[in-house]
Amino acid sequence: MNIAVIDYQGGNVQSVLFALERLGMNATLTSDPDVIRGADRVLFPGEGEASSAMRALRAAGLDKVLPTLTQPFLGICLGMQLLGRHSQEGPAGGTELLGMLPFDVVRFTPPDAAHKVPHMGWNNLHDLQTPLFAGLGSAGELNPQSDSNQAPVAPSLLPTAADYVYFVHSYYAPVGDYTIAQASYPAEVPFSAGVRYRNFYGVQFHVEKSGPVGEQILKNFLTADLA
């Protein structure tokens, strides 16, 4: 399998490469549009600040390439956020994003001093959809090809280890039709932990640093039918 990890000076790509390596997969770190177009799977990591990331993408001409891709594509953290329309992050009024998914990225506004920003640490996923999250979820149940009508996990069911992934972010995408996984911060306010439009998937959490749960999601991304 041909895996491309997009290199645009967008932060810590090494961890993504190592995570793939632990799954026995070799990936190509590249900013070459032809290599990216020819890959079976495309990973789009991102860390840092939105406006500088967009500047780097434009400089590499990738802002024109990414929306034309047709193979399964996974944006990670800032790489997910960049798929949206606009972010509050950035100088003077925020940053125009790639516009591939219909969400606007906004900053967390903590209700009290106990809620810190960044939202940093392990949080549980809920309302999981699509085969990207197969094998996860409370009580170890599989989440097969589900649709948006799937009933959410019963609130009485306490999250298990299989629900937790690692987040570090100060901005988030609200929940919408494009949402395929949710997490909540504060506890009663859900946000998009996963998004999808066609072949374009994104996760807000660090799939490459989320222990065995992250490895399962990465494995799903490489093997599941995500078309």
């Binding site: 190592f18 840092g48 001093a113 949080n123 280890a161």
Partner: protein
């Protein structure tokens, strides 16, 4: 719900862990990569590698170690210890460290926090603050005076601790790693008053460090409004507490934790 975090700290020198450990079934407890992988498997939420090497070889061995840990370990980790140059921070992050922790270098040059946060993002920049109580006989927690120290708590930095934490967060630190030198090594519990005061003064997560000796110490420091994460070294290394046992205790005590799978 966002959980509180348990963090194990590994002291390394010349690429080897220096504090002894008595993990059973771990052939080489002096190998930081093996130890880090073991902690990750046991359910620790994060790791800190604190490098105390003071040789010219430091940079090369540390980058190599970070690469090896990042290759093996599937949870986040921070690297710290005598790091100051922007180029070193960049090399460590590119090698796979999730965060870099800075201490004396940013006390000497606070503007470095702004520069690093702008360049690498606040999420990658931890400011470590070693504080010592300078009036041990304070009548109440509100009267406690805490000052920042460097060089293992020997040299005063001339800064009041809470004010320095606030400044570090305002300059762009994404997290504060707060060690009470007055509690470190005592095993009598964390500095609850200081940690609460810092937590109230900064809008970013606070990691409490220094004083962990028993499970209730973790429960107390992970109450709302105190610390977001608790760091410990010897209680984990010497096997006084297992990660799983401690997490189960904390969950039973009502602390939100990522359960051990």
């Amino acid at each position: 719900m966002l959980t509180k975090r348990l963090i194990a700290c590994l002291d390394v020198q010349n690429g080897r862990t220096v504090k002894g450990t008595n993990f059973v079934n771990l052939r080489d407890a002096g190998d930081p990569v093996a130890l880090a992988a073991r902690y990750a498997l046991e359910g620790i939420d994060e790791l800190v590698l604190l490098d105390i090497t003071a040789t010219v070889e430091k940079r090369r061995t540390l980058i190599e170690l970070v690469r090896n840990v990042a290759r093996e370990v599937n949870i986040p980790f921070t690297v710290g210890g005598g790091i100051g140059a922007v180029a070193d921070v960049e090399a460590l992050l590119l090698s796979g460290a999730d965060k870099v922790s800075l201490n004396s270098s940013v006390l000497r040059e606070p503007g470095l926090i702004d520069e690093l946060a702008q360049r690498f993002g606040s999420q990658a920049i931890v400011v470590a603050v070693d504080a010592r109580q300078t009036n041990e006989a304070a009548a109440s927690p509100a009267d406690e005076a805490w000052e920042v120290f460097t060089h293992g708590g020997r040299r005063p930095a001339g800064r009041e601790a809470i004010a320095w934490c606030r400044e570090a967060a305002e300059r762009g630190a994404g997290e504060i790693l707060l060690t009470s030198m007055s509690h470190d090594g005592t095993r009598d519990g964390y500095a609850l008053g200081l940690t609460s005061a810092v937590s109230a003064a900064v809008g970013v997560p606070v990691i409490a460090s220094g004083g962990a000796g028993a499970a209730p110490h973790f429960r107390d420091v992970l109450q709302p409004g105190v610390a977001d994460a608790a760091l410990a070294a010897s209680v984990f290394h010497f096997g006084d507490l297992s990660v799983a046992g401690l997490k189960n205790y904390l969950l039973a005590e009502g602390v939100t934790m990522r359960p051990v799978g």
